[in-house]
């Protein structure tokens, strides 16, 4: 195995451009080390990126909050700029793992790892986040909801990496938000199901509604059928049955050892109901 420590982002991009199969990036290492130990990951070339300043820092950049890919969960939770603009996002990420893991785990790694349970993704999806992807060929922006293409598969090319996460600065302005993660214990819980939402209620009906679930499908994604249903139905007329009918059109459940598809489905329905109830109570 080759381990390379590039001196700069430019050098890293050139190494990535060699397109050598089996190349892995090492950021915070929380997924990398565990997966290598379990034998799930067997890289033949490791590019260390944790020290690259170009990938660090949180700043306001025009209409966006720009979070460098190496931003840790702990940094999001404690950052004053983010607390000022997107306080509910900071709170959502505080439920992640444990304090020592939050100090290591990066946003870029969480997203790139593309796990169905990646906890940063549903809250980012409902806030219309996009990613900045970079390669020697140039830089491009991709809406987060176009990033995942299948189980652990992404639209990132082999020579690309995530350099930043972009959040609209007004992502939470005037909107209700929701985030719940259901697991077996409070700390260090891998989600059995998670639900994030952002919505606005006008005259007893949602005029804006975005919902995204984790651990329900092969990757975290928006529940577009439920969103449509919620946007076109007065809140008082939305029932468990009507949500059930809409949610069916939004799923391709994953089955694993942690809990079965029915359980996930029912739990998702419960969370959707609590979310809408929460919002109407505070409308």
């Amino acid at each position: 195995m080759n381990t390379l420590i590039p001196d700069s982002l430019g050098q890293l991009l050139e190494l990535l451009a060699e397109n050598i199969p089996g190349t892995e990036l090492l950021a915070g290492g929380t997924d990398f080390n565990v997966q290598c130990r379990k034998g799930v990951l067997n890289p033949n070339r490791v590019l260390c990126i944790g020290h690259l300043d170009e990938l660090k820092g949180i700043r306001l950049d025009g209409e966006h909050l720009r979070l460098g890919a190496l931003t840790t969960f702990a940094e999001v939770v404690a950052n004053e700029l983010l607390q000022g603009h997107v306080p509910d996002f900071c709170r959502a990420l505080a439920h992640f793992a444990s304090p020592p893991v939050r100090n290591l785990a990066t946003l870029g790694g969480n997203i790139a790892n593309a796990s169905p349970t990646a906890d940063s993704v549903p809250p980012l999806l409902v806030r219309l986040a996009s990613l900045e992807l970079r390669s020697v060929r140039g830089v491009r922006q991709l809406p987060l909801n176009e990033f995942f293409t299948g189980y652990k598969r992404t639209a990132m090319a082999q020579d690309e990496l995530i350099t930043a996460v972009l959040l609209p600065v007004n992502a939470e302005d005037g909107l209700h938000s929701y985030w719940r993660k259901v697991g077996t214990r409070r700390a260090l819980t891998i989600a059995k199901l998670s639900l994030a939402g952002m919505g606005r209620i006008e005259n007893g009906q949602l005029s804006e509604c975005r919902l995204a679930a984790g651990a329900l499908n092969e990757y975290p994604r928006r529940l577009t059928a439920v969103e449509q249903h919620a946007l076109t139905t007065p809140l008082a007329a939305i029932t468990r049955e009507s949500l059930n009918e809409a949610l069916r059109r939004d799923i391709t459940p994953i089955d694993d050892l942690r809990s079965d598809a029915d359980y996930r489905f029912e739990t998702c329905l419960n969370l959707l109901q609590t979310c809408l109830r929460d919002w109407s109570d505070h409308a």
Binding site: N33, V34, C48, H51, N103
Partner: protein, 170 residues
């Protein structure tokens, strides 16, 4: 630490020089960039106070401070330590707040087998240093990454709360 030059290795094990501050002293070692910090501490440097439980970031027995923040050293690689500051349980009693914390935990009878203890101390110390107060909920949240099979946590939380109280009164 962008003071690294590109290293191209062709055979295993590839070695690099890593310099960092360990319990206040500059330390330089030659090692595999992916070697676990936990192994560097225990096997290469003989600091065996830091324990290995799960080896996967779940139990907190291997917790040390990296630039003052608690991290699980079983999932930290050598390359992440270069140019940074590491504090282990061996360095805790040199500081007055660390000494006080350990005393309060002993007084509260928070230690049984002691395996979790170094990790608990590191997480609790980071909490105290971040201005942590004697609030049971917050202390539990700060210790959420540290498992203890023996004590049931009550006495640990009590000990940490007492340390926070006394530290503020000093």
């Amino acid at each position: 630490m962008s003071n690294y030059i590109l290293k191209q290795f062709s055979q295993q094990p590839a070695m690099i020089d890593i310099s960092f501050t360990l319990n206040g002293e500059t330390t330089t070692i030659t090692t595999d960039p992916l070697r676990r910090l936990l192994d560097i501490l225990r096997d290469d440097l003989g600091l065996t106070g830091t324990k290995e439980g799960c080896g996967e970031g779940e139990c907190g027995a291997c917790t040390v401070l990296l630039d003052g923040k608690p991290v699980t050293s079983c999932i930290v690689n050598a390359v992440a330590v270069h140019g940074h500051d590491v504090t282990t349980i061996e360095g805790v009693s040199a500081s007055p707040d660390g000494r006080l914390l350990i005393d309060c935990l002993y007084e509260a009878e928070a230690v049984q087998c002691g395996f979790c203890f170094p990790g608990i101390v590191m997480s609790a110390l980071a909490y105290m240093r971040a201005g942590g107060i004697a609030d049971n909920e917050r202390i539990r949240a700060a210790l959420a990454g540290n498992l203890c099979r023996c004590t049931g946590y009550e006495f640990i939380v009590k000990g940490v709360a007492e340390a926070c109280r006394r530290w503020r009164d000093l």
